[in-house]
């Protein structure tokens, strides 16, 4: 459980909040590069950390992320005309450049220089790995560009999607490090989903539904190791990575692409679930790409023209009680992503953690909260939170079989960091 004030501290990410400040100190995925496909394309509304913004791409291909609203009368610039190196408000013709600087106020004499006094709030927006990243913190604390491995491998080796999740970011992220739910909620998918099936590790998973967990602090966050019995007295370990504040990486299975998530607050009641899949040494196969685009694995199908999942709360996630009874799916909801999202959204927009009853196997979640709260305190004293340093981002999840007496952090040391030109350690 968390006391209300602790829950508020971790779940509120708007401007001026401590948790919002932590998010603002690192680069966050803002939108897919494909959402701004060409110069002078239509602008896209982006809400991040409770700030209404507008992403656009000017005549020269420069990306912009600016306040959504015109400084004149508060009109949404989503209606703007993207033309000649600027975005022009259609109401009275005020025009802004990619930094948010007003460059034209037609009703004022040009010589007056009035437009120089008008500037919209703007944030840097840069493309990396098919994702447009933004940094919303103090300019003097802007870190180097992100180096998450999925974002720096060649483009044909990586696939990223995003979906709207109608809940606070924390309950979504906590699902990403809650390893003990996999053997239940996703049990119907492990041997069916094209991006999961066929792994020897799945047999260990299904053969031992009560894994033993070890939670170990890492420089950037946590390693959450789930241990199951393997052959000859050895242990099969699945080590999940959590890097603060909102990155999780799932351990690999066989030669399947490795996947993970970012859980980025839109506001306090909604978040973007970013889902990536990648390989290090080979392009994704046509079959893998088709599966991801079709919403398999950790991806999902959409309501056409939106990033809202096709299965959503308005259609009860298309729950199939007969399939639940037959055991085709454990919860009656199809697909790994929506199995998670349906339950996390059912908690309500911001779950009241004062009512929960955590158990010992929830120590991954308890430690993640502990580290976040600790980092918030340290941040107030001027310390940089974990997860910002590039070496914290050069991490990997791993699936390994190890002798029984070795700390996985030590025995799998190489497997838990990026190894250039080598694939993830997997079973």
């Amino acid at each position: 459980m968390l006391r209300k004030e602790q829950n508020d501290l971790l779940t509120q990410t708007g401007p001026g909040t401590p948790m919002g400040r932590m998010f603002r100190l690192s680069w966050q995925p803002a939108l897919l590069a494909s959402e701004l496909p060409e110069n002078e394309c239509p602008p896209v509304r982006v809400k991040l950390l409770s700030e209404r913004l507008l992403a656009w791409r000017d005549t020269q291909g420069r990306y912009a992320l600016t306040d959504e609203f015109c400084a004149h009368r508060g009109v949404s610039l989503w209606f703007g005309r993207n033309e000649e190196n600027g975005l022009r408000c259609p109401y009275h013709g005020w025009k802004y450049d990619h930094t948010g600087q007003c460059i034209e106020v037609p009703s004022e004499p040009t010589e007056s220089g009035f437009c120089k006094k008008i500037k919209l709030k703007s944030y840097p927006l840069v493309e990396r790995g098919g994702v447009l990243w933004t940094y919303m913190g103090p300019p003097e604390q802007q870190p180097p560009l992100p180096e998450w491995e999925f974002a720096v491998v060649p483009a044909d080796r990586s696939f990223t999607s995003k979906r709207l999740q109608e809940s606070n970011w924390l309950q979504a992220m906590e699902g990403g490090i809650d390893s003990s739910h996999v053997s239940f909620l996703h049990s119907g998918e492990l041997d069916k989903d094209p991006l999961f099936k066929g792994s020897k590790g799945n047999r260990y998973n299904m053969g031992d539904k009560k894994p033993v967990f070890e939670v170990v602090e890492s420089p950037g966050g946590l390693y959450i190791g789930a241990r199951r019995n393997a052959e000859n007295g050895h242990y099969y370990w699945r080590v999940t990575q959590y890097v603060m504040p909102a990155f999780t990486m799932i351990p690999p299975r066989a030669d399947h692409p490795v996947h993970g998530h970012f859980w980025v607050p839109i506001d306090d009641e909604n978040c973007w679930a970013w889902s990536f899949d990648y390989k290090v040494t080979r392009p994704l196969s046509a079959h893998e790409l088709e599966s991801m685009q079709a919403g398999k694995g950790i991806h999902n199908e959409y309501v056409p023209g939106t990033f809202r999942p096709r299965q959503n709360k308005d259609n009860d996630y298309l729950i199939d009680r007969a399939a639940q009874k037959r055991g085709d799916t454990y919860s009656g909801v199809y697909g790994i992503a929506m199995q998670d999202a349906s339950l996390q959204e059912s908690m309500g927009p911001i779950v009241d953690r004062a009512k929960e009853n955590l158990v010992s196997t929830d120590n991954g979640i308890i430690m993640a909260r502990h580290r976040l709260l600790r980092a918030l305190k340290a941040m107030e004293k001027g310390e940089t939170p974990p997860g910002i340093a590039l070496e914290h981002q050069r991490c990997r999840s791993a699936a390994v079989v190890l002798p029984p007496d070795q700390p996985f952090k030590e025995a799998a040391k190489e497997a838990l960091v990026v190894q250039t030109g080598k694939e993830h350690a997997t079973v």
């Binding site: 939670v215 709360k313 059912s346 955590l358 007496d405 952090k409």
Partner: protein
């Protein structure tokens, strides 16, 4: 018409969650396995808890010899001897606290008692970041067979945070 899920997962409906206790207090026994963790556990014992009680096994490195009982094997924080089996009998969870690099030999005795009584065990190793991998490995290998959940934490405050999170 709005779907059941859309209606019931709204903030408005969240306000109607029943505001009544949904669990009984859990009996949590927190046992320090070595002198450094005994210091941590003693400090914790002075705070307000629901049903957490605090012990030390740091003076007992090994199992009672043949003919001896577990009656005086454990001590509470005041130094009174306690019967391990009786304490485990009344526990929902046993938390064993060890310092990295120290001997956690008592874990096997406690763990075996918990295993017999099917009581959940958690091992907490403190100070893992400051010790060598070898030192950590030594403590880890003694705790691992007997802890169904194992945490390596750098900050002592984690013990309290974990116990509060578990409503101890």
């Amino acid at each position: 018409m709005q779907s059941e899920s859309a209606r019931m997962s709204s903030a408005t409906e969240a306000r109607f969650r029943i505001d009544a206790p949904n669990s009984l207090p859990r009996a949590v026994k927190v046992i320090a396995l070595d002198p450094p963790s005994e210091r941590v556990v003693k400090t914790l014992a002075q705070r307000q808890w629901s049903r957490a009680t605090f012990f030390t096994a740091s003076a007992f490195g090994s199992a009672p010899k043949a003919g001896e009982s577990f009656a005086g094997w454990l001590s509470d924080i005041a130094g009174r001897t306690k019967n391990l089996v009786e304490e485990v009998n009344g526990a929902d969870l046993v938390v064993m606290v060890a310092a990295a690099g120290e001997s956690a030999g008592a874990a096997s005795i406690i763990g075996e008692a918990c295993s017999l009584k099917r009581v959940m065990t958690t091992g907490l190793i403190l100070g893992g970041a400051d010790k060598s991998d070898e030192a950590l490995g030594k403590t880890l290998s003694q705790l691992r067979p007997w802890a169904l959940m194992l945490v390596v934490a750098s900050a002592e405050e984690y013990v309290e945070d974990m116990l509060r999170a578990l409503r101890a």
